[in-house]
């Protein structure tokens, strides 16, 4: 389906969107529209939460007592995500080389993201061929990252293609191959989107390299869509149609 919906089309899907009764591509299109639209779409907002009422209208059903016992035993041996992250950050030391200026955790994300982009998006890129040693090291980082549960979300659009790679609890990194250049008076702005709107998470300008790597210091949890717009300056609300969009529900 066409990724661009007008206000009327979004309004017509308001209840279906609020109840999760739209196809994933429709959900992305609605979210993308909401991210860039100045209209309040109050009717759609008013419908969010209606589903919870249906749950609470059911007669409660008490679980078997064994379920609680099993739950308590399970969490006894189950670490919490944010605590695992803290432990890893505390344990990690600084690294050398081209990622040295970054924290170890961010460096690992960027290494993973760069390799994912190179291998899966644009094929082998000449600009990186002189960095074989770094690539090998990054591959080792990939193995570690995958074993740590990171996820990658495809990002596509007129400005480029790539991946947003998540490290739960620590944000993400956007890696775009062959990013479209911009006039000097414009920049790219990153957005995380949910049904309530868009949150600005940073700006960047195209560099001379074929691959752009941009840290996204924001937990992706709870957001449905990632988007990039072109802006004249950093803004608090997007002013144009996204030039790249990623579905964060498609991991």
């Amino acid at each position: 389906m066409n990724n661009e919906l007008d206000c009327q089309a979004v309004d017509e899907l308001d209840a279906a969107f609020a109840l999760g009764a739209v196809e994933p591509d429709e959900a992305r299109a609605v979210a993308a529209h909401l991210a860039s639209c100045q209209q309040p779409h109050a009717q759609l907002r008013s419908m969010l939460g209606a589903g919870e009422l249906l749950s609470l209208g059911l007669d409660p059903v008490q679980p078997n007592a064994a379920v609680r016992d099993r739950l308590m035993a399970t969490i006894e041996r189950t670490p919490q995500e944010h605590r695992v992250g803290l432990g890893e950050r505390e344990a990690a030391g600084r690294r050398n080389g081209w990622l040295d200026w970054l924290s170890p955790r961010v460096a690992r994300r960027l290494a993973l993201a760069a390799v994912v982009a190179v291998l899966a998006v644009a094929g082998w890129n000449l600009s990186l061929q002189s960095q074989l040693a770094e690539r090998d090291r990054a591959l080792r980082e990939v193995a570690e990252a995958i074993s740590g549960g990171e996820a990658a979300f495809r990002v596509d659009g007129s400005a480029g293609r790539g991946y947003l790679v998540e490290t739960p609890g620590s944000g993400a990194a956007l890696v775009i191959a062959n990013l479209a250049s911009l006039p000097a008076d414009q920049l790219y702005e990153l957005w995380l989107i949910d049904a309530a709107g868009a949150v600005a998470v940073g700006t960047f300008t195209p560099s001379s390299g074929a691959i752009a790597v941009v840290p996204v210091e924001r937990d992706l949890a709870g957001y449905t869509t990632f988007a990039v717009t072109v802006e004249a300056d950093r803004v608090d609300a997007p002013t144009g149609t996204p030039v790249m969009v990623g579905d964060l529900t498609a991991s």
Partner: protein, 204 residues
């Protein structure tokens, strides 16, 4: 009936769970396990599967509590959305004609519960909510339940009920409006609705 009048208790429980307090998760379970099981059971219809889903949901809350943002809805809303979406995932996996969608807690319903609904729900008993739902025209109730408990899209609902797409979508749109009317909800409560959807919200 679940105590719906003390949202601050949930906020405190969330803080305690975030700090690693396992007893707090047990207290959360005691508050909401029965409504979570009712939801799961309504979707999957199998008691054993439903209890597994409830167990897994509370484990997910324990693991991912740091992702919970009280600015975007209540802990109960988040929990019920997780159990609903996991339950839908379960039946979709058993339904070969529909692609499995990784809905879980990343799905749209988890985001941004409306304060109007939460405020009204907090003041109503289960019986009152049931009366409001039962008062919906049959075709509207069927549509909204197929969506929420059946995990069906409006296109699928149109096919299943033998009506045009516009009719199915219209029924979905009318049902929440009728519920609002039945529960005498006003549009004044969600002050945020006057704010453009695209406006930036406070950093989390």
């Amino acid at each position: 009936m679940t105590d719906r009048s003390q949202p601050n208790i949930d906020a405190l429980l969330a803080q305690r769970i975030r700090s690693g307090d396992r007893e707090a998760l047990g207290e959360l379970y005691d508050r909401y396990a029965s409504v979570a099981l009712a939801t799961a059971l309504r979707v999957v219809t199998d008691r054993e599967q439903a209890e597994d889903l409830v167990h897994d949901t509370f484990v997910a809350v324990w693991q991912k509590i740091d992702r919970f943002d009280p600015m975007r809805g209540s802990l109960r809303s988040w929990l019920l959305t997780i159990v609903r979406n996991r339950s839908i995932d379960r039946i979709r996996a058993q339904r070969p004609t529909v692609g499995v969608d990784d809905a879980d807690e990343q799905s749209l319903l988890r985001t941004a519960a409306n304060p109007t609904w939460e405020a009204v729900i907090a003041r109503r008993s289960t019986a009152e909510l049931q009366i409001a739902i039962d008062g919906l025209p049959a075709e509207q109730r069927e549509a909204i339940e197929l969506a929420y408990f059946g995990g069906r899209t409006y296109r699928e609902i149109a096919t299943l009920t033998g009506v045009p797409l516009g009719t199915a979508n219209g029924r979905l749109r009318l049902a929440p409006a009728k519920l609002r009317e039945a529960l005498r909800m006003t549009d004044a409560a969600p002050a945020a609705s006057a704010e453009p959807m695209s406006a930036r919200r406070p950093d989390r």
